[in-house]
C-alpha cells in the first residue's frame, strides 16, 4: 500500500539534494572548525559559507545568526537569553495563548524564576490582535514573543505590525517561524523582528538543527557554556554536516516558494472543501490567511485518535489535536484558545501537505474519510449540535 504522508508540519523528509550536500562532511571533511590546520579550516569555511547563504536569505548579517540544535533550543535561547540578560530593566514578557509548547513551557519556567508573563488571547481564527499586545505592555516589559504561523491551525500572525509597535517602545520582539520557514517571507527587516527562530526539520532539512537570528547589539545570556563557539553565545562543536544541510534546505525552500505555495494552496482548498462536505464538520483556523499547507478540520461526535488509526489502516498519515493521541491527555491548547468547546475539541484532524503531495493523495483522503466518519459515528452515543458546525 502506498503511503500518503500528510503530516509535513510534524516533520518533512530530508531532500535528496540536502543529503548529498551533507555527506562529504561526515567522513571526508570531518574537521573541527576550531582546529588550526587545513582540515579545521575546511570545516570552518563550510560553516561560514552556510551562515552567509542563510543570512542573505534572511536579509541579515552572518554574525546575527547562531546555530542551535533546533527550534526548541532556539526558542529557549531567545526567551531565557533575553530574560536573564535584561532582568535589571524589567521582568515582564508578553506572548500569546496560541504558541507552541516550547514557548509556553519556557514562559512557565521563567514565571518560576520571578518573571511575569501575559498570555494575549487570540480571536476565533487564532489571530493575535496587535492592539491587545500593545495594551499588555507595561514599563517592565522586556520581551514579546509571537509565532509567525501556527503549527496546528495554520493562522498567520501579523508579525510586522507587532514588531513595529515593539520597536517603537524599545521592547525586544521574538518570533517562532518554524512553520513559516518554507512558506512565508522571512526578511527580518520587513518583519521588524529582533529575534527569529527557524529549524531544519520542517523545511526538508535534517532534524536536530536550527538557528536563532538575534539582531546585532542585543545582549543575550547564553544557555550553553564551554568552548566559546558561535562567538561565545552557543558553546559546543559546530554540527558541520547539519549546518551545511540546513543551508541547502533553506535555499531550496525559498527558491521554489511562490510556485509551491500556489500549488499547495490549490490542494489545500480542494481538501478543505471536500472534507467540509461531510456532515457536522468545521474548518479550524482562517480560510485564507493561513499556511498554504495546513488543513485542520473538526468532526463532531467522534474522537481524533480513532480516526487516525482508521486512516493509518488506509496508509494515510495525519495528526490530531485529540487528547487521546497526545502524551498529556489534554486536548489541544490551540483549539481551546480559539474557543472550541471541550466536547468538540476531541475530534480534530490536521492534514499538512508538502512538496510530495499530489492531487491523487487528496482524492484518496476524500475517498476514505466519509466512510471512516460514518463508521465511528455509528459506534458513538454522542449526538451534538453546536453552532458553526455544518
Amino acid at each position: 500500500m502506498k503511503t500518503v504522508y500528510l503530516d509535513y508540519a510534524s516533520t518533512t523528509p530530508v531532500d535528496p539534494q540536502v543529503v548529498a550536500s551533507m555527506l562529504p562532511f561526515f567522513s571526508q571533511k570531518f574537521g573541527n572548525p576550531s582546529s588550526f590546520h587545513h582540515k579545521g579550516m575546511e570545516a570552518k569555511n563550510a560553516v561560514d559559507d552556510a551562515r552567509s547563504r542563510i543570512a542573505s536569505l534572511l536579509g541579515c548579517s552572518p554574525h546575527e545568526l547562531f546555530f542551535t540544535s533546533g527550534g526548541t533550543e532556539s526558542i529557549n535561547f531567545a526567551l531565557k537569553g533575553i530574560a536573564f540578560a535584561h532582568k535589571q530593566k524589567g521582568n515582564h514578557i508578553i506572548t500569546s495563548t496560541l504558541e507552541h509548547h516550547a514557548v509556553l513551557d519556557t514562559c512557565a519556567y521563567l514565571e518560576k524564576q520571578g518573571f511575569t508573563v501575559t498570555y494575549v488571547p487570540v480571536d476565533a481564527q487564532g489571530r493575535v490582535n496587535p492592539k491587545d499586545v500593545e495594551r499588555a505592555i507595561t514599563p517592565k516589559t522586556i520581551l514579546i514573543s509571537i509565532m509567525y504561523a501556527n503549527n496546528e491551525i495554520g493562522t498567520i500572525e501579523p508579525i510586522s505590525e507587532i514588531g513595529t509597535l515593539a520597536q517603537k517602545q524599545g521592547i525586544y520582539f521574538h518570533s517562532d517561524a518554524c512553520q513559516a520557514a518554507g512558506a512565508l517571507d522571512l526578511d527580518v527587516r520587513k518583519l521588524h523582528v529582533d529575534l527569529l527562530t527557524i529549524n531544519g526539520s520542517k523545511i526538508y532539512g535534517p532534524k536536530g538543527i536550527g538557528l536563532l537570528y538575534a539582531r546585532k547589539g542585543i545582549a543575550l545570556e547564553p544557555l550553553l557554556h564551554g568552548g566559546g563557539q558561535e562567538r561565545g553565545m552557543r558553546s559546543g562543536t559546530e554540527n558541520v554536516p547539519y549546518i551545511v544541510g540546513f543551508a541547502k534546505a533553506f535555499e531550496l525552500a525559498q527558491s521554489h516558494r511562490d510556485q509551491e505555495n500556489k500549488r499547495l494552496t490549490k490542494l489545500r482548498d480542494a481538501l478543505i472543501s471536500g472534507l467540509l462536505k461531510i456532515d457536522k464538520t468545521r474548518l479550524n483556523g482562517p480560510k485564507s490567511n493561513r499556511l498554504p499547507n495546513n488543513v485542520n478540520i473538526s468532526f463532531l461526535d467522534i474522537e481524533g485518535e480513532a480516526m487516525l488509526l482508521y486512516l493509518n489502516e488506509k496508509g494515510i498519515c495525519a495528526s490530531t489535536g485529540s487528547a487521546c493521541a497526545s502524551q498529556s491527555l489534554e486536548t489541544s491548547h490551540v483549539l481551546r484558545a480559539i474557543g472550541m468547546p471541550y466536547e468538540a475539541s476531541h475530534g480534530s484532524l490536521r492534514f499538512s501537505l508538502g512538496k510530495y503531495t499530489t492531487f491523487a493523495d487528496i482524492k484518496k483522503v476524500l475517498a476514505v474519510m466519509p466512510s471512516i466518519v460514518k463508521t465511528l459515528r455509528e459506534l458513538s452515543p454522542v449526538r451534538l449540535t453546536i453552532k458553526h458546525f455544518q
Binding site: A108, G304, L309, Y310, E313, C324, T331, E378, V382
Partner: protein, 228 residues
C-alpha cells in the same frame, strides 16, 4: 479521556504549573486483540436495533467534553440473574472502543455472566483480555466496567431493588474546594439538576475547571439514580 483523572495522569503542566521533567517511556502500542475489537467491534448498538431493543438496564458514563463517553444496554434474566445480552455505544479512542467491545464479549459468553460477577469487573480484567494497553490509556479510556455497573444499578432501580444499588465511597473531586462525590450526591438530592445549580450550591470546579467533566458525570449518575 480525563474522567478518571488521577493525579499521576496530570503530566502536562498548566501554564502556571511547575515544570517538571517528564518521564514517558510509553510507546504507541496496540495488540492484535485491541485492533480486532477496534476495527471489527462486537455487539455494538446500531441505529436500527436501538429502536426496538428492550433493555433491562441502561448505563451511561463519561461525556464528550472529557473525551470518552460510553453507553451500555443489558438484558438480564431475572430468574438466573445472568446478563444474557449486552449492547454498547462508545465515543472515544481506540482503547475506549476496543475495551467496551471486549467487555461485551466477556459478560455475554458462557451463557451470560452472573450479575454479582459482573459488578466485580475491574478495568484490569478487561485489559488482561485485550493483552495490554498503553499505561497512560488505562485509567482514562477503560470506562466500560463503570458503564456496566451503571446499567446494573439501573436494572436494580427499575425492578425496585434499590437496596442493591451500589454507590462508591466519598472521594474528593475538586481539590480546590475539597468537594467530594458525596457532596455532589447530596446537592443533587436537594434539587441541583444542572451544572449551574450545582455550582451555585457548591462552587465546584469554578477555580478548577479540569474537574468539570467528572462533576458532570457524577451529576448524571446521581440524577439517574434518584429519578423515577
Amino acid at each position: 479521556m480525563t474522567v478518571r483523572k488521577k493525579d499521576n495522569l496530570r503530566k502536562k503542566p498548566e501554564l502556571h504549573a511547575d515544570v517538571k521533567a517528564k518521564v514517558d517511556s510509553q510507546k504507541w502500542f496496540y495488540t492484535d486483540e485491541v485492533k480486532e475489537h477496534f476495527f471489527k467491534p462486537k455487539n455494538f448498538m446500531d441505529e436500527k436495533t436501538s429502536k426496538t431493543y428492550k433493555a433491562s438496564g441502561i448505563g451511561l458514563v463519561g461525556s464528550p467534553a472529557c473525551g470518552d463517553m460510553m453507553k451500555v444496554w443489558i438484558k438480564i434474566n431475572p430468574k438466573t440473574e445472568r446478563i444474557i445480552d449486552m449492547k454498547w455505544s462508545t465515543f472515544g479512542c481506540a482503547s475506549a472502543l476496543a475495551s467496551t467491545s471486549m467487555l461485551s464479549v466477556m459478560v455475554t459468553e458462557k451463557k451470560g455472566m452472573p450479575i454479582e460477577d459482573a459488578l466485580k469487573i475491574k478495568p484490569q480484567d478487561i485489559v488482561a483480555r485485550l493483552g495490554s494497553l498503553p499505561a497512560r490509556k488505562f485509567h482514562c479510556s477503560v470506562l466500560g466496567d463503570k458503564a456496566l455497573r451503571a446499567a446494573i444499578n439501573d436494572y436494580f432501580r427499575k425492578t425496585g431493588q434499590t437496596k442493591r444499588i451500589i454507590t462508591e465511597g466519598a472521594r474528593v473531586i475538586d481539590k480546590a474546594t475539597g468537594i467530594t462525590d458525596k457532596d455532589i450526591e447530596e446537592a443533587v438530592l436537594e434539587g441541583a439538576d444542572t451544572l449551574e445549580k450545582l455550582q451555585q450550591k457548591l462552587k465546584v470546579g469554578i477555580g478548577n475547571p479540569a474537574c468539570l467533566p467528572e462533576v458532570e458525570q457524577l451529576l448524571r449518575f446521581y440524577k439517574e439514580k434518584y429519578s423515577g
